[in-house]
């Protein structure tokens, strides 16, 4: 709490009047306020006026709320308790226990089912039979293209083998053997051939 020791002026004193009357003023403020009142007639007058108004207000008879209004307010409050109070009241009722047990069992069951769920069967797919059949044809076509390329590779290998190896060997053999068969001097065979297919 703040302690006020230094003297205060009229404007500060004015803010303390109400707390002083209600006896809610801090001890340090009280001392400073009373010191100021001792030498300030204006503030003393203000304090007296405030005290009189407060006393007159307290002497007024209390106003009663009309019974109809009170009843409506109370009925509304009873019908619409705060959600936290409603939750607490529901939680305290024993009915929640079987409901909770059922809900928990259902949640666990569904969770277990989802975790152990096997891959969905084809029937459960979002694709129609026609779409699957089309995809099957496309996949087969893709594999057919791959097979075609492999076949080309095989042909290429056969052609290369024939042109680069077998044909020169055959020509060499022919060049070596034919002259002997014909009784001529063998001539070295030319390398490669005009039909060699090198790209």
């Amino acid at each position: 709490m703040r302690k006020r020791r230094e003297p205060i002026d009229c404007s500060s004193a004015e803010t303390l009047i109400e707390a002083y009357l209600d006896d809610e003023i801090a001890a340090g403020d009280r001392a400073a306020f009373e010191t100021h009142l001792a030498r300030c007639e204006s503030c003393t007058g203000d304090l007296a006026l405030a005290r009189r108004i407060q006393g007159e207000l307290r002497e007024l008879p209390p106003l009663a709320c009309p019974p109809a209004v009170s009843r409506k307010v109370l009925d509304h409050a009873a019908a619409h308790p705060p959600w936290s109070q409603r939750l607490r009241s529901w939680w305290s009722v024993k009915l929640w226990q079987p409901a909770f047990a059922l809900l928990l069992a259902a949640a666990l069951g569904v969770g277990y089912w989802r975790l152990s769920e096997p891959p969905p069967p084809p029937d459960a797919s979002p694709y129609s039979e026609a779409e699957i059949a089309r995809a099957e044809a496309e996949l087969k076509l893709a594999l057919a293209y791959l097979g075609d390329i492999s076949q080309k590779a095989s042909d290429s290998f056969g052609t290369e083998l024939g042109n680069r190896v077998l044909a020169p060997v055959g020509r060499s053999l022919a060049g070596a053997l034919l002259p002997q068969l014909q009784g001529e001097t063998p001539k070295p065979a030319a390398e490669g051939g005009s039909d060699r297919d090198v790209s």
């Binding site: 928990l104 949640a107 989802r114 791959l146």
Partner: protein
């Protein structure tokens, strides 16, 4: 915490668990080591596109289930795949050289990214590369680029665990022309996801 409050918290937790959506297997393509984006070609554009196929994980699994009885080998292969994409472009004579160069560049880029070249095709003007992406000793993706000797370029990307031999055996059963006719009109009809 009172027993009632604890029970309430537990109930809310259980309810949250029950209501949580299960993880849907949606492939994050950018994070897939076996994924290659062939859609951004420099020379070839939308106008040149003849066939565009993109089938992703949920649909691939559905097809696998649908074909398990009639074609168990196909179903086994599809089970391990996440994405299958094919782009087929028509290539004009004026575009051939640029496309061939671009395919070579893409092949080099894939090698730099750690892909392993499994097949190289060089025959009568045709160029082709088939790459595999191996992660932890398992194939995680296949990328194939092929420019034929005429007027077609094909780009294939398969993401997932691929057994090339198994795929090759199965692919040889499929008739490319018949399947092309069956899927004709797929261009512009959207992806089968």
């Amino acid at each position: 915490m009172s027993p009632k409050t604890a029970l309430l918290a537990f109930l809310l937790l259980a309810a949250g668990l029950a209501g949580a959506p299960s993880a849907e297997a949606q492939p994050d393509l950018a994070g897939e080591p076996g994924f290659v984006d062939f859609s951004q070609q420099e020379t070839l554009g939308e106008d040149d596109l003849e066939i565009a196929i993109s089938v992703k994980d949920p649909m691939i699994k559905l097809v696998a289930e649908a074909t398990r009885e009639s074609d168990p080998v196909l179903a086994d292969i599809l089970d391990k795949l996440k994405v299958v994409e094919v782009l087929v472009y028509k290539v004009g004579e004026s575009q051939r050289a640029a496309v061939r160069g671009e395919i070579s560049e893409q092949a080099g880029a894939l090698e730099e990214l750690g892909w392993t070249e499994a097949i190289t095709i060089r025959m009568r003007g045709a160029r082709g590369h088939v790459f595999l992406r191996i992660v932890d000793d398992f194939p995680a993706g296949l990328a194939a680029m092929y420019l034929d000797g005429e007027n077609e370029a094909v780009f294939v990307n398969i993401v997932g665990q691929i057994d090339p031999a198994q795929v090759g055996r199965l692919a040889s059963k499929f008739n490319l022309d018949l399947l092309s006719q069956a899927v004709s009109g797929s261009l512009g009809s959207g992806d089968s996801e």
